[in-house]
């Protein structure tokens, strides 16, 4: 549905080189594509206008034509500008010494505040070694306190709660005093979701801010938010004067233009990104990556980082040695497969690759196919895994029965593995296999 902006710009600027001169008209044509891409990404209309005007100036002022590829050059300018608007390198929270650092979380209903609170608490504990606690001040949404208590237990942090009978401002004040007494390093205050136009609840948020004197106020924003993000951010900035933003639900396929809008109208940085169902799916925000995402250009850095987190150096070296000596067995294959799968659903990984996200469209990666491969290998004896050539007809039948698959599936796996080994041998000798060989795995 969405074409990559780079492809569109390519098309718009295709004939430029043959004419040898980049005119203002060419740039305007390109800017129309940029404008559409940004609108599809939900960047605010007004922000888009200002942004394209700025980019146009820069594109005209540069020797775009000098480069071999004017389309790519314009994409680069756009992506650089986007990253610049979203605020250079990430920024940290303001930590109070001595503690507790009080962090107030606010946002619309359903933006993901409660989950973000627990994730942030876990993040502070894991990444900063802090003793973080939570305060349950959402007394309005049914069972919100229960939810925070359960999430707190999962995150392994203490939760200060007094049920739903008291005024949330009183509870917050009490929790801050308790956290001080208990010498916590940080206290994250969960508040109920509120509409930015709800005067009463916005007044209450102002009170919460006044009475808890937080060191940081964070606005939680759903990455799927549309044009309204600007209204929301402006109102919350006025009432709660927030310091930064947590962008949630980034594991979906929303381009997340709201991030740009919020930053552009309030000037507040986006500090964290929430990227999945697990409490550990929470990370520092990277403006440059977000810029590429908004433009539909994939996110290679995140992919590389995910890989780094899963594969440790020593294992990688061991693997390399095995490949060189041709000792790579089905057991190693199994370990490899598990590591890749630990990085998340394959679908999501593929989406991070430039160009693939678009091509993938509605094509689905069948994770169950991988389950089947695992089952087949696990049904083999250690001897069979080390040396698949011993697998004869009767072993095949046994393995198929054991793994709940067919004899054909077992044969195919063995065949693929043998071919893979052959390729590895070629590669370790320094020969790059041809694409046909790689693709002809089956």
């Amino acid at each position: 549905m969405f074409d990559a902006l780079s492809d569109r710009l390519q098309a718009a600027l295709d004939d430029v080189r043959s004419r040898g001169k980049l005119t203002e008209d060419d740039v305007s044509k390109a800017m129309r594509q940029v404008r559409l891409a940004l609108l599809e990404a939900d960047v605010n209309f007004k922000v888009v206008k200002e942004f394209t005007a700025a980019v146009k100036d820069r594109a005209l002022g540069q020797d775009v034509l000098e480069s071999l590829n004017p389309g790519q050059q314009v994409v680069k300018i756009v992506s650089d500008e986007l990253a610049a608007v979203m605020g250079g390198a990430g920024r940290d929270l303001a930590f109070a010494r001595p503690g507790p650092t009080v962090i107030l979380m606010a946002g619309l209903q359903g933006s993901g505040k409660t989950t973000a609170c627990a994730k942030l608490a876990r993040h502070l504990r894991e990444e900063h070694g802090m003793d973080a606690a939570l305060a349950a001040c959402d007394v309005y949404r049914p069972a919100a306190v229960d939810q925070l208590v359960k999430l707190g237990a999962q995150a392994g942090v203490h939760v200060y709660e007094q049920g739903t009978g008291r005024d949330p401002v009183d509870i917050a004040e009490w929790a801050v005093a308790q956290a001080k007494r208990d010498r916590r390093d940080a206290l994250i205050v969960d508040t109920s979701g509120r509409l930015h136009v709800d005067e009463e609840l916005m007044k209450e948020l102002g009170q919460l801010r006044k009475r808890t004197k937080p060191h940081d106020v964070l606005l939680v924003v759903d990455a799927m938010t549309g044009q309204d993000a600007v209204n929301v951010a402006e109102q919350f900035a006025e009432t709660a004067n927030f310091d930064g933003v947590v962008l949630t639900k980034l594991d979906g396929d929303a381009r997340g233009g709201a991030a740009l809008s919020v930053r552009a109208v309030t000037g507040k940085p986006i500090l964290y990104a929430s990227t999945g169902e697990k409490l550990g799916d929470f990370e520092r925000f990277h403006p440059d990556r977000m810029a590429q995402r908004i433009l539909g250009m994939g996110d290679v850095m995140t992919l590389v980082e995910k890989a780094e987190r899963q594969l440790d150096e020593r294992q990688a070296q061991e693997l390399e040695r095995k490949i060189r000596r041709q000792e790579f067995t089905l057991d190693d294959f199994l370990v490899q497969m598990k590591q890749v799968r630990n990085m998340g659903p394959l679908q999501n990984l593929l989406r991070l690759m430039p160009g693939v996200g678009q091509q993938l469209g509605s094509l689905q990666v069948d994770e169950r196919e991988l389950d089947r491969l695992e089952a087949i290998i696990l049904s083999m004896t250690p001897q069979e895994r080390a040396n698949p050539s011993v697998i004869d007809g009767s072993r095949r039948r046994r393995i198929a029965r054991g793994s709940g698959t067919s004899v054909q599936a077992v044969s195919q796996l063995v065949k693929q593995f043998t071919q893979m080994k052959k390729l590895m041998r070629q590669m370790s000798r320094g020969k790059m296999p041809s694409l046909e060989q790689l693709a002809g795995g089956r």
């Binding site: 209903q109 930015h196 799927m224 549309g226 639900k249 659903p345 509605s362």
Partner: protein, 330 residues
């Protein structure tokens, strides 16, 4: 056009006496007034801009502002382009004679786009099974509570809620409180248990107790999470194996603040569980929910319900004309 609860829901009963027009009118205006009041609270320049241009002229500037208004309402570039193009053609051929004509036709076109066939909800089966799906935080649980309350109160149907969200912490507790407010039954499972099993038990219980409607909650999930969408497919299969022809209604909740991603949500949820209608929630903010127009236009899935506040009665049948007016009026 669905306006009253009786008009939205096909109960199979004889249609109750339609209230006289005189009585009907103030009630409708009351609701619309409320919706508008809610939207008026923070007045941004956008509405005022449209008012200023549309009512004045038919020039390029008018069309530019018109486009701007639709984009701001999250209608999206493709659907906006289609509407603007059509109006431009009509202006060129002289069908439109000025600013007033333009705004009238625009309102008509928006309502036309929003109006999709099959926008009623049938309750003629016993039990009628409704499945509610949507991304995290879109308002499933709240919407279920409100539907249950209305079905019990307005239409006199006995409702049983199936707490199929066994994943999110305290989701069942939240739903139980809504069930209590609505005064209906609820069937819950253990946290982390199989949602299909919980819903199976709930439908069995509804049959045993002779309940009219079963509303099935499901855990919020992003449409890109393949394994969770597969789980949803399975839940649907469990339901249709148990009750042939069920679920009779599959509602997707979409947060009105959602931008262009709403279209992707509708596409992928429809692919997985054959969504039959949209519940557009949180329309009481400043968001206009224009993505519903793109969904109607591109996918032909009608909006059936709108959520306009936190109270039980703040759920309404969707009305295309009111919606078109709300998108344009400041």
């Amino acid at each position: 056009m669905a306006r009253t609860w009786h008009e939205l829901f096909d109960t199979g009963d004889d249609v109750p006496p339609v209230p006289a027009e005189a009585e009907e009118e103030p009630k409708r205006r009351g609701f619309f007034q409320r919706l508008r009041d809610n939207m008026v609270k923070t007045r941004q320049a956008l509405g005022a801009e449209l008012q200023a241009t549309v009512f004045q002229s038919l020039d390029d500037e008018a069309f530019e502002h018109l486009e701007e208004t639709l984009i701001y309402a999250d209608v999206g570039a493709p659907t906006t382009a289609k509407i603007v193009e059509r109006l431009e053609t009509e202006a060129e051929t002289g069908e439109l004679q000025g600013g007033e004509d333009l705004s009238r036709r625009l309102r008509e076109l928006l309502a036309e786009t929003a109006r999709v066939n099959g926008d009623r909800i049938s309750l003629t089966e016993r039990p009628t099974v409704m499945l509610i799906v949507g991304v995290n935080g879109s308002g499933k649980t709240t919407t279920i509570g409100k539907i249950a309350w209305h079905l019990q109160r307005e239409l006199g149907r006995s409702v049983l809620i199936a707490a199929g969200d066994t994943f999110r912490a305290a989701a069942a507790e939240q739903l139980a409180l809504w069930a209590e407010r609505a005064g209906c039954d609820i069937v819950r499972g253990e946290p982390g248990s199989d949602p299909g099993a919980v819903i199976f038990d709930a439908i069995a219980a509804a049959r045993a107790r002779g309940r009219d409607v079963v509303i099935c909650d499901t855990a919020g999930r992003l449409h890109t999470q393949q394994h969770l969408m597969d789980e949803l497919r399975k839940v649907r299969k469990v339901i249709s194996a148990q009750v042939p022809g069920a679920p009779h209604e599959t509602l997707l909740t979409i947060d009105a603040t959602t931008g262009q991603n709403g279209l992707r949500q509708a596409m992928l949820f429809r692919e997985a569980v054959d969504v039959t209608g949209i519940a557009l929630t949180k329309l009481d903010g400043t968001a206009k929910g224009g993505i519903a127009l793109a969904i109607a236009q591109e996918l032909g899935v009608p909006v059936k319900l709108i959520g306009i506040g936190e109270r039980l009665e703040d759920l309404r049948p969707f009305d295309p004309d009111d919606f078109a007016r709300a998108i344009l009026e400041p």
